[in-house]
């Protein structure tokens, strides 16, 4: 078997492929649903309802997509420059912790000032966290895949230490959690009676901004050059370390911002189960989007819809809720293959 790059991608194929991918994933998942003794067609119907079928499900899908967009962007900008930031999970948590710490420190600022400060605190924490592995790479040649991965564990333990220690909410008698941020700093809701908050708007704006930065600015140009060919970039006078530092600041900053938004947009305080792996899913989202910032928005919505729909379906059908992750994983893998087949043709 051989793959050959298509000279022209047929439009019909490009449109049909993602649907085919989801269809295949659902067919495979159907076997599992049937194995649990549930009505497969009804399950599919429930899945669609769960993802888009009501005001609740629609707003929930958007809410869950928000952090995925930001961590997806964090991965996309870093991977473009071949900075393998696998540490968005850690940056997310540290960003959330920083925002919560500032937001609970009793500054008493008005929302219009306080919220940006919290966002900045979160982004800054994420930035600093990624700078460490980057410096180790630049200075000692340490592979950042591993250091950023290991830092995720360290940060989670650090967060745990903080929410059980200095940042612990003394009024919450039990569970370790940080002091809640002041009510003024909670992100405004986009829709009343829903969880949807302006974080979504921030994420979409970030995507558009990043798209412009990547495609239109000198920095975007240089980070692409540095990613594709460090030697050529260096020869052309592009500072590799300078570019990578900026990339790391953006990437870590976005992941940190994701944490800050999640904490101020939803529950208002930090616990060690704030993220169901948003940092890791962000990588998948970014790669599925071909590292394109606008694509990240779309794929984040896709991943969130599949999860929210399948999660709701499992509850409605009374089958093990792990099915939601199974369907997400299947969709990811089939989507990956479908996107390949759009660009390539299989021969012999």
């Amino acid at each position: 078997m051989r793959l050959e790059r298509r000279a022209h991608v047929p439009l019909g194929l490009a449109i049909a492929a993602p649907f085919a991918a989801v269809l295949v994933a659902l067919l495979l998942a159907g076997l599992l649903i049937a194995a649990a003794g549930a009505d497969v067609l009804e399950a599919y119907r429930r899945l669609a309802i769960g993802a888009f079928g009501s005001r609740l499900s629609l707003t929930e899908t958007l809410t869950r997509a928000t952090p995925l967009m930001l961590t997806g962007l964090a991965a996309a900008v870093a991977f473009r420059a071949k900075l393998w930031n696998i540490g968005a999970e850690g940056q997310f948590y540290l960003g959330a912790l920083a925002a919560a710490a500032v937001g609970a420190s009793g500054l008493g600022l008005p929302s219009a000032i306080g919220i940006p400060i919290l966002m900045a605190a979160g982004a800054l924490a994420g930035m600093l966290l990624l700078l460490g592995p980057l410096l180790l790479r630049l200075r000692f040649g340490v592979d950042e895949v591993v250091t950023t991965l290991l830092l995720n564990f360290i940060v989670l333990l650090f967060v745990s230490m903080m929410v059980e220690g200095p940042l612990r909410d003394p009024t919450a008698f039990g569970w370790p959690q940080s002091v809640p941020v002041e009510a003024a700093y909670k992100l405004p809701k986009l829709l009343p009676r829903s969880r949807l908050h302006i974080g979504l708007a921030i994420a979409v704006a970030a995507a558009v901004l990043l798209f412009i930065v990547q495609s239109r600015t000198v920095f975007g140009f240089e980070s692409r050059a540095a990613g594709h060919s460090p030697a050529a970039a260096r020869f052309a006078g592009i500072s590799l370390s300078g570019t990578l530092v900026k990339v790391a600041l953006i990437s870590g900053g976005l992941a940190g911002l994701a944490g800050a938004i999640e904490v101020t947009g939803l529950k208002g305080y930090v616990t060690t189960d704030l993220s169901p792996g948003y940092g890791y899913s962000g990588i998948v989202v970014a790669m599925l989007a071909g590292l394109n910032p606008i694509g990240v928005v779309v794929t984040a919505l896709f991943v969130a819809a599949v999860f929210v729909g399948a999660d709701g379906m499992s509850r409605a059908m009374g089958i093990p809720s792990f099915i939601a992750d199974v369907i997400v994983a299947l969709s990811l893998l089939t989507m990956l293959v479908a996107l390949l087949l759009v660009g390539y043709r299989v021969r012999k």
């Binding site: 000692f140 290991l150 792990f322 992750d325 994983a329 990956l336 390949l340």
Partner: protein, 314 residues
């Protein structure tokens, strides 16, 4: 202070080190095999989960322990085959495929476990591997109880290090594996099919990872719990780099990591309340990063790692 140092002279500490290291050795060897052939396998966390469940379930359903490990290996091999199919002939992103496999393998594992196993008040048990004192050797003072009173899979893990090192360095097959990891074009030019070799390595490596997971449910413990792998797979990915892609150093890395872990569990009683326990738990990770800094210059990355090889494309 002396108490903290005394811990190091306890044979039981070193026995614990070997126990904690065993799943890491399997996992690291598996990841190393994949990476030497040029394929990063981030599916490891899920594959270990799958192995833990399948190994345990086979025994629970009546197989003997070794058959259980074999079934785990088989399940791992199948998951590995999926990763290989996506990343080798199709040349898809190894990051995404790997993370996807982790998500798929673990969620599928939990789902199936839920469907097939009745829940009692605590998860059902099997009779796990029992420590096997090697006659003669286990009587040596200090070393005996420290090293030679483990369960058989631990001895197997250590033997596999030697076997892998030998295969990679001294056999034609090992050379082929190394070559496809360094330059698949060169391998193809000499009549070796890089696709097949890579698939083979990923399948074999994934089988080893699954056995590492199965060790947790058939030797370290006797039940399966969802999420019980607890990041051990990710640690293995780090250990491969720490080991500069050499099996011998992988053993050293796994032992070192396990030493930090075993040591911190004991140190907690010595300096207990003075220090937040999280700091102890951080130690293995922090030390790994420190070790990476020291080793980085000497590491020799397989040159074609993460580079897809598609025939007839340049």
């Amino acid at each position: 202070m002396t108490e903290a140092l005394d811990i190091l002279t306890q044979a039981s500490l070193w026995a614990a080190v070997l126990r904690i290291a065993t799943p890491l050795i399997f996992g690291t060897l598996g990841a190393l095999l994949c990476e030497r052939a040029g394929v990063l396998n981030l599916g490891i966390e899920g594959i270990m989960t799958l192995g833990a469940m399948v190994g345990w379930l086979s025994v629970y359903w009546g197989a003997d322990l070794w058959t259980g490990l074999l079934c785990a290996a088989l399940a791992g091999a199948i998951a590995g085959l999926l990763h290989a199919a996506l990343t080798v002939p199709l040349g898809l992103s190894q990051h995404v495929s790997g993370l996807g496999i982790t998500l798929l393998a673990s969620s599928l594992t939990y789902y199936v476990y839920r469907l097939v196993v009745e829940q009692g008040s605590s998860p059902p048990t099997i009779t796990p591997f029992q420590p096997l004192a090697i006659p003669g050797l286990s009587d040596i003072p200090f070393l005996g109880p420290a090293l030679f009173a483990q369960t058989t899979p631990t001895y197997l893990a250590i033997a596999l290090i030697a076997v892998t090192a030998y295969v990679l360095a001294r056999t034609p097959l090992g050379l082929a594996v190394r070559m496809v990891g360094e330059n698949p074009h060169a391998a193809e030019a000499q009549g070796i099919d890089p696709t097949r070799v890579r698939i083979g390595a990923v399948v074999a490596g994934s089988a080893l990872m699954a056995v590492g997971g199965a060790y947790l449910t058939t030797s370290a413990f006797n039940s399966f719990f969802p999420t019980m792998i607890q990041g051990r797979g990710w640690v293995c990915i780090a250990l491969v780099v720490f080991a500069s892609w050499r099996p011998g150093r992988a053993l050293a890395g796994a032992l070192l990591f396990a030493l930090f872990d075993a040591y911190q569990l004991r140190l907690q009683h010595v300096v207990g309340a003075l220090v937040p326990y999280q700091l102890f738990l951080m130690v293995p990770y922090v030390m790994s990063i420190a070790a990476l800094v020291v080793m980085a210059r000497r590491a020799r990355v397989p040159q074609a790692l993460m580079q897809p090889y598609r025939r007839g494309e340049r």
